[in-house]
């Protein structure tokens, strides 16, 4: 489902003496449907960078990144948008929303974008929010004022609202209490069971052990760090 082939990337900082920082070279990895692969490596090794390249918000300098039938590394913006709408989900560490939009609508939005009716989308959003223990009295409020853990759960609810065939998870269990952590782990297991290909970053060792079929150490893709 997801296939990263010999991918490289560098950052050029034009306003800081045109410093060129090579951050990735020769990165390759494959994830099949129903499989969960963990990206591991020390801070700064490039886990999030690789994930963002797969999602398309970082440009790829060379190589191919196939998600389904789309090569993210060379696709036009509208192809990436179509891919993100129906195929590739992403749970980032930070919630980014239009201020003042009610939580339930934030969660329902991915469903509305894929053609689900408004009532049905809200009903599904409500189920997810209830499962993630967001109190119903908060559903009509904007998540911008929520606690860190609550925002993260809203973000997860939004990321799992549509059944994407491919999912990127950036630390989905950070800052969650044990009960909610267990719920999120169960949701990831269910996504695997329905056949989603998942790439995750988990600093939570136990979560990684429980969910992931394989680990890929990105240190091997970092120029200058590779052994």
């Amino acid at each position: 489902m997801i296939s990263v082939e010999n991918v490289s990337k560098s950052f050029t900082l034009h306003n800081q003496g045109s410093t060129v920082i090579p951050v990735m070279a020769g990165a390759s990895l494959q994830v099949a449907a129903g499989e969960c692969v963990a990206l591991v490596g020390a801070s700064g090794a490039g886990k999030s960078t690789l994930m963002r390249m797969i999602y398309g918000n970082y440009l790829t300098a060379s190589g191919r990144i196939m998600v389904g039938d789309t090569d993210v590394a060379s696709a036009a913006p509208r192809e990436v948008i179509a891919l993100r709408r129906r195929t590739l989900g992403y749970v980032s560490q930070f919630l980014r929303v239009v201020p003042r939009v009610p939580t339930i609508d934030v969660v329902a939005e991915p469903l509305l974008l894929t053609g689900t009716g408004a009532d049905e989308a809200r009903a599904q959003a409500a189920t997810l929010l209830a499962r993630l223990n967001i109190p119903e009295r908060l559903w009509g409020l904007s998540p911008t004022t929520f606690s860190g853990g609550e925002q993260q759960r809203v973000n997860i609810a939004r990321g799992f609202a549509f059944a994407y065939p491919a999912l990127l998870l950036d630390e989905p269990t950070a800052s969650l209490d044990p009960t909610n952590r267990a719920t999120v782990l169960a949701m990831v297991q269910e996504a695997k069971a329905r056949g989603a290909a998942i790439i995750g970053i988990f600093h939570d060792h136990a979560a990684r052990e429980a969910l992931c079929d394989r680990q890929v150490d990105v240190t091997g893709f970092t120029p200058g760090l590779a052994a």
């Binding site: 398309g56 918000n57 970082y58 440009l59 913006p77 990436v80 239009v98 201020p99």
Partner: protein
């Protein structure tokens, strides 16, 4: 899929000075494109050339008309261009008073666009006006008030209702949230997002506010000194800017 708007090698000069030059892009149905850049970078010039308000010195702006497919709007006759401006196109000005008739009631402002496309039944027109005022959250009891009696945010929402009532396919927006306080801005952003999603609109939004484009636009075009210096997916341009000017622009945003 065929593009809704196809821009090729567009240029506009003010004497020897460059307004904008060498602009080419395709916009597809349902896409929202943001144009950012500092004041004087040519973004409003470009928008006005696209919308037929300014005549470009060079290049083509092809629009997928309902009846004849792609037509160059630069070379079409003035009446044809005006017809597009009343039907398939909409233009939301930065200052609502530029896009509204300030001495006509709110309902009249919305109804006028309908009458321009041959709506004649008073009851129907008023009903549609009420419907649209509701969608932009202006209550029915304000329908007979003039825009002069409205707040800035309400005027802007009225301008949007007036523009969208005829079901346009392409909306040009020049700083639609500029000059509004942030709480009103947030509400307007949510409204615009919902309208784009529900009506399948395409839009071109000129702004200097990067937060606005991140939330509204799928694609981004960065302009400097009349030239397009970078284009791409909005979050890619903002998260991984390639051009020195874009890097400066992104890193200059003040964090709240």
């Amino acid at each position: 899929m065929t593009p809704l708007l196809q821009v090729e090698n567009l240029a506009k000069y003010y004497g020897a000075r460059i307004g904008c030059t060498d602009v080419s892009f395709d916009l597809y149905p349902g896409e929202v494109m943001g144009i950012v850049g500092e004041s004087g970078s040519g973004k409003s010039t470009l928008l006005n050339c696209l919308a037929g308000h300014l005549r470009p010195d060079q290049g083509a702006v092809r629009f997928a008309t309902r009846s004849d497919g792609l037509r160059d709007t630069v070379t079409m006759s003035e009446p044809e261009r005006r017809m597009l401006g009343r039907t398939d196109w909409a233009f939301v000005h930065q200052h609502a008073r530029d896009g509204l008739r300030m001495n006509v009631s709110a309902g009249g402002n919305v109804g006028e666009r309908l009458m321009a496309v041959n709506a004649r039944h008073y009851g129907d027109i008023r009903e549609q006006a009420i419907d649209w005022l509701g969608r932009v959250e202006i209550t029915q009891d304000r329908i007979d008030d003039r825009p002069t009696a409205f707040s800035g945010g309400m005027q802007q929402r009225l301008q949007i209702a007036r523009n969208l009532v005829t079901g346009p396919r392409l909306v040009f927006m020049d700083e639609p949230t500029g000059g509004l306080d942030v709480s009103v801005q947030a509400r307007l952003l949510d409204l615009l997002r919902g309208l784009v999603r529900d009506m399948g609109l395409s839009a071109i939004i000129v702004t200097h506010d990067l937060a606005v484009v991140r939330l509204l636009a799928d694609r981004l075009m960065v302009m400097k000194d009349g030239h397009v210096v970078e284009t791409g997916l909005t979050d890619q341009v903002l998260d991984d800017p390639q051009h020195g000017y874009t890097q400066l622009l992104v890193s200059s945003v003040l964090q709240v």
